[in-house]
């Protein structure tokens, strides 16, 4: 097992290295002079030349690349053009809302979706199963910004049940800030429930087909007890998997949801960065999010090891 973990970590480092490379290439593909683009319309040619030197853009591309990787590995993602601050600092300032938004929406999704998924599997083929699956699919077919706009309009502005947007003011305490995340979390939670319902159902069907369940049934154990005693025990695995899988979905969802509700998170940041041509921030966000994804995947795989003794490597 130690060898397996070592191998995984080695593989992970290669992937992170590739992530860095892809992010570097994407930003370098941008047409035109990055310096002129960064400085904007009022800048003179001299200013642009100066910035090119400062950014090291006048050096050979390979040197630039190596410097970039070297700095990134040390946690230096360069400076934001717009904020004139280190990208890492800008990103850290946006981490809280995105992390909690993801967490809450994941919780909401799990609360809705796990029981529904399990029940649908248990009653496979019934109208209830069909209904659950169709509803889940419908939820996954509606653009999340559409849902967000509607909820914001009716639940927040009209009925006043939730704050309409933002993340509280300067003196907003923790719970006030979390309150601002309530409605966005619900929107994102609904979208993600769709995936989790389908996944839980599929996993449960797998488990219900396993030998020991059949054995339990043949022993005359009641269906309800079979489900509760045996099947649910094994549902930990799909839930762990879902957490890993939905991460990417959550971040994607957060981009749109944060935009609708004007939440100052990382998703909002990258869209603003695109509109402001703040390439170091675009690059940095890509790197951080992708690295997090890779780490979470590793963590879920390692959790498997702990939870499920049957998995062999």
């Amino acid at each position: 097992m130690a060898v397996y973990i070592f191998k995984r970590i080695l593989g992970l480092m290669v992937v992170i290295f590739l992530v860095l490379t892809i992010a570097f290439v994407i930003v370098r593909l941008a047409p035109g002079d990055p310096a002129a683009l960064m400085l904007g319309p009022e800048a003179s040619a001299e200013d642009a030349a100066l910035l090119r030197t400062q950014l090291g853009l006048d050096r050979p591309i390979l040197v630039q690349y190596l410097t970039f990787v070297f700095n990134a590995v040390q946690g230096d993602l360069g400076n934001s053009i717009f904020f004139n601050q280190p990208v890492t600092q800008v990103l850290l300032g946006r981490a809280e809302p995105t992390i909690f938004l993801s967490l809450f929406s994941l919780l909401i999704a799990l609360v809705i979706a796990t029981p529904v998924g399990i029940y649908a599997a248990y009653r496979r083929g019934s109208w209830l199963d069909q209904g659950a699956i169709s509803t889940a699919m419908l939820a996954a077919s509606i653009p999340s910004f559409w849902t967000g706009l509607m909820f914001q309009r009716y639940l927040a502005t009209e009925l006043g049940w939730f704050p309409a947007s933002g993340y509280g003011g300067p003196d907003a305490g923790f719970w006030v800030r979390m309150g601002h995340l309530a409605l966005p979390s619900i929107v994102l939670g609904i979208v993600n429930s769709a995936l989790i319902i389908r996944f839980t159902r599929a996993s449960m069907l797998d488990i219900l087909g396993e030998d020991y369940i059949r054995t339990a049934r043949s022993k005359g154990m009641g269906e309800r007890r079979v489900i509760l005693r045996h099947a649910l025990k094994n549902a930990a695995i799909p839930i762990i998997t879902v957490v890993g899988l939905t991460f990417a979905l959550l971040v994607s969802g957060a981009v749109v949801t944060e935009r609708v509700f004007n939440i100052p998170g990382m998703g909002n940041l990258i869209v603003s960065a695109v509109l402001r041509r703040d390439y170091p921030v675009i690059q940095g966000t890509l790197i951080v999010v992708a690295t997090l994804y890779v780490l979470i995947n590793l963590a879920t795989d390692l959790l498997y090891l702990l939870v499920d003794k049957r998995v062999k490597y």
Partner: protein, 284 residues
């Protein structure tokens, strides 16, 4: 080919044995045909403005209302559908193509496997929308560029499936036999492997078709999508958004169009998966 006509018949039966798949297929065909036939069936010129009739409610003159320029929403919906569906289909096709090439190379040539697989892993580490936003911001917002960006985003999914299947298939006895008989790698890949991996690719491509349409709408909403002069369902919602109070129909109809198309595609994808390979039915 493996599939004879009788197998085709049973496949169709199997596919449509689930009523919701049948309904979805019919719905999707109707949407697609209406959009394709837009020049014939559209009640008006989608670009003709009558500014004084802006935001007219749905009625006799404008079946589905008029937008902020007094353009006919019904006609625009049909023309926009052509673009949205083209983007979805194009992305499904492009990403399959890229994915197949990468997957085959990784699956067939041991030396390429490790780097290609890591590359696939790295690509998949970027959340869809994030990568698409970054790519579109660099390529510029046009229909073709949005298609390219989304194809790059979704190609790794196909590549992963193709690679996994290729690894299994190339060890199968008859492929080994073909190799022993001196068939070239190229022939083996195209005739044996491709034929066998066609079903999972078709299933995955159907889902990508659906996701790409949603992603296009999302990009348009964020203001980093197709240039706004081109009507797509996404740009229509984005434009209509400002009039959510006076003319909610402006975002309701394109929203319905997207949701109906995406939903039917997902149902079809599900049905295809079950019909093509029951073993896959329990996967995601």
């Amino acid at each position: 080919m493996a599939a004879s006509s009788t197998q085709d018949a049973s496949f169709i039966d199997l596919l449509f044995s689930r009523r919701n798949v049948l309904i979805a297929a019919i719905l999707f065909v109707i949407i697609a045909v209406l959009c394709l036939a837009a020049p014939i069936v559209a009640p008006a010129d989608p670009f003709k403005m009558s500014v004084r009739a802006r935001l007219t409610e749905p009625g006799a003159q404008f079946w589905l209302g008029a937008d902020a320029f007094g353009r006919d929403v019904a006609s625009r919906l049909l023309y926009a559908g052509r673009v949205s569906l083209t983007i979805g289909l194009g992305v499904a096709a492009f990403s399959s193509l890229i994915g197949i090439v990468i997957g085959l190379l990784a699956g067939f040539f041991r030396r390429l496997d490790a780097p290609m697989s890591r590359l696939i892993d790295a690509m998949m580490a970027f959340p869809d929308i994030l990568l698409a936003i970054a790519l579109v911001s660099i390529l510029g917002g046009s229909m073709v560029n949005v298609m390219i960006a989304l194809s790059i985003v979704y190609a790794p999914r196909i590549a992963r499936i193709v690679r996994a299947s290729t690894l299994v298939i190339r060890e199968l006895p008859y492929v080994e036999a073909a190799r022993a008989l001196g068939s070239s790698t190229w022939t083996i890949m195209t005739t044996h492997v491709l034929r066998n991996i066609l079903s999972p690719i078709i299933v995955q491509a159907t889902f990508i078709f659906a996701y790409a349409m949603l992603a296009e709408a999302g990009l348009s909403f964020l203001g980093v999508g197709v240039d706004p002069a081109t009507p797509t369902w996404g740009t229509m919602i984005n434009e209509g958004r400002q009039y959510i109070d006076q003319a909610a129909f402006l975002i309701v109809f394109p929203g319905l169009a997207i949701s109906a198309s995406v939903l039917s595609l997902q149902l079809i994808g599900d049905g295809l998966r079950d019909a093509l390979d029951p073993r896959l039915a329990k996967d995601l």
